[in-house]
Point group: C2
Chain length 434, copies 2
């Protein structure tokens, strides 16, 4: 296995034991082998097959996007500034109904390119035609947790076919691409899946030993509908259906009572906070300071590009740091270091990859990015964690490695043909719109 070295580096490790290291990092094969302060030891230099001078960059774990629908990049900018039901029923769903496997392949490829260009090394994707998504993950070199999101508002045989499809996908792809692909099971949402269908999906997750992912309490209206239909709010409803009996990740979780927050904490349910999408769709502002205080693992997601409208997770990190201060009127909530954890180490924990990715630490996978600091907005050199959160953007990411393999060098993509992807995505969009 190739062992190589980065010298003269500022490492923002996200490891609470040693958050910032001015020194060196050795990578062997797919993993981080060693990290140290100051100059690299002679032994490391002799062993290294290649040495990179880290000056002018910050090295940090790749970002982790814990909720999205990658292929929806094809619908970016198609319909903005509309009421949610109008947006969904008259614009998104009619277009999505036309999506073929080819559309999903190129839309996801566009998303993969955009994520690499903005520093995301691991992403969660809930969609359809998941085989084609998995192909993109395999070929792009990214790490992902993939899940066939199933909507159960259909006859029992169609429900069963969808569940079979999700189970088949899990059997085919969980652990594939050198372990870079993980699979979750996903009832789309409590308001789109009847209770007995959710129970079947939970049973399948138990059989397969997989985590569960779902949309939950994104809007006030769906919470009210849950109470009308089932007599309880969504957290209690899902808890009764067993959704939290497996490791679970819920997206949005905007509208929560104190009791619901306590129950999520008690059941070790992780939350994917999607602040930009929640603002754009006017869903509201999640109670992130309270969730964090209760000990809930909060991570960050972009949601689909149609409600964001980009996949730059640096923007979610900054939004998480800014929004909750302004809305709560407490300037000390979600400080910069915490916001950066939401986008890295907490993201890994939220999808069961704690100890695998999300930190720079010996033994963890070599999933990391180099952020160029030779830019006006990184001056002066006061506090690089602050600069990453409050001043940086995805465009500052120069290099990326995942599983020890370089995916981007000086903003050039090494595994994807971005010009072809842009062309094919445009072609897919034009066919869908026709």
């Amino acid at each position: 296995m190739k062992r190589w070295l980065i010298e003269n580096a500022i490492l923002i490790t996200m490891d609470p034991q040693r958050p910032v290291v001015n020194g060196w990092m050795a990578v062997e094969g797919t993993a981080i082998a060693a990290i140290g302060d100051g100059a690299a030891p002679e032994k490391e230099k002799r062993t290294a097959e290649e040495t990179i001078d880290g000056r002018g960059h910050l090295f940090m774990p790749g970002l982790i996007n814990t909720h999205g629908h990658a292929a929806m990049t094809l619908l970016r900018g198609l319909a903005d500034d509309l009421n949610l039901q109008d947006w969904l029923q008259n614009h998104m769903w009619p277009m999505e109904a036309k999506f073929t496997g080819d559309d999903v392949y190129w839309g996801t490829s566009l998303a993969a390119a955009e994520m690499i260009l903005s520093g995301t090394t691991t992403f969660v994707d809930m969609y359809d035609h998941m085989d084609r998504v998995a192909e993109v993950v395999r070929d792009s070199g990214l790490r992902a947790s993939l899940t066939r999101g199933v909507i159960g508002l259909c006859p029992p045989d169609v429900q069963q076919a969808k569940l079979d499809n999700a189970v088949g996908f899990a059997k085919d792809w969980h652990g594939e691409a050198d372990g870079r692909i993980q699979v979750m099971m996903s009832p789309h949402a409590p308001y789109t899946c009847p209770p007995d269908y959710i129970e079947k999906i939970v049973a399948a997750a138990h059989e397969l030993g997989l985590p569960l992912h779902t949309h939950m309490s994104e809007t006030e209206a769906e919470v009210e509908q849950n109470v009308r239909d089932y007599g309880v709010r969504p957290v209690e409803h899902l808890d009764r259906l067993g959704l939290f009996s497996r490791p679970a990740l819920v997206a949005h979780a905007v509208h929560l009572t104190d009791e619901e927050i306590a129950l999520l904490a008690n059941r070790n349910v992780a939350v994917s906070h999607n602040p930009v999408s929640n603002l754009k769709l006017a869903s509201g502002v999640a109670r992130v300071p309270e969730l964090l205080r209760a000990g809930v693992t909060v991570s960050l997601g972009t949601d689909g590009a149609a409600s964001n409208n980009n996949l730059d997770l640096f923007e979610e990190i900054r939004m998480a740091a800014l929004l909750h201060k302004g809305v709560s009127k407490v300037p000390t909530v979600v400080p910069a270091a915490e916001a950066l954890r939401l986008g890295t180490s907490y993201g890994a924990k939220a999808i069961g990859l704690e100890g695998v990715t999300g930190m720079l630490k010996p033994g963890l996978k070599a999933d990391f990015i180099a952020v160029s600091i030779e830019k006006a907005h990184f001056v002066p050199a006061t506090d690089y964690v602050s600069h990453l959160v409050y001043a940086a953007s995805g465009a500052d990411v120069a290099h990326m490695w995942v599983d020890g393999r370089q995916l981007m060098r000086n903003r050039e993509l090494l595994t994807l043909d971005v010009e072809r992807i842009r062309r094919e995505a445009q072609r897919c969009f034009e066919r869908l719109r026709a």
Copy 2:
């Protein structure tokens, strides 16, 4: 005067008569000479001394940042996530007290570099050592409205010296640099200037024929203090002192009653909305939908880099489009086109430059930028106004012209030595911190 031509261009003009033009634009000297659809006429091609192929770019008016303290870039990242009074009294003010003219020159140069790199062609600056700020504007080629912000919590002779300094600056610099520099008069805020001092500054503005600028109602605490000290809220207080008897621009305006909004509209007072700074300092969320509905001219400011922490106005545009939807729970407020107007045409109006800059229109100054769209996050080509607002960042700006002169070409600064500026700004910061 040189006449030159851009062909094959998508022009996002911000001109309500013809918002998007697929065609060409001719520039003569400092101004836009003509705009047309389709292919450029033969006569234009013959007359043009130079022709630029606009393919792969959107051309739009340069952004207008209507509130800031440019030299505060030197304090970027110095102290974040603190309570406002702690931040101001223990971190900002002690450092700022040490600022020399040299610090202001290099801090402002850093800000100018950052603004050019992110698409801002015109900025408002309220600070001290304004001669040095004016030098940066003159030499960088930017357009600016500059103002010596005076704090009146001092003995009468010091008050008078500050006012004399502000008047002297106005006499020396208003209309200089080929008219690119305008000057305003600025009492810092109602809570830092006694009423009689504000009246003196208003009188000076009348004598000089200049607009007025001030901070107003940024925090709830200062509104309460105003009521305690003067028996009325800040808008009525400033109205009584004559501040709105000249064209006026107030920064922040976060905490307003319906009556105050009506009074601002009635007096034609413009507002500089600073959403990122207001969130970061936990000041709250301004009532922008209500201000716009009342007919108030709302524009956008970054505020100083210490409370933002960058000067990328694309971020303010996106934040204005997102934040008010989420907080009001109405997804149709501040739609994309309106958000873009806040950062361009409304910005020009807010500082008395309507008909001068802020649109692409024959007769207006040639202040514009070219945004590269050959990027993943600009695909598919659905709606470029949406993409500029919801997907773009300052890093997408490739070229800039101000007053017909090119300031940036392919992200290379043509008037500023950014490497030297970064070095000098770092040196200034280290001396200040020592």
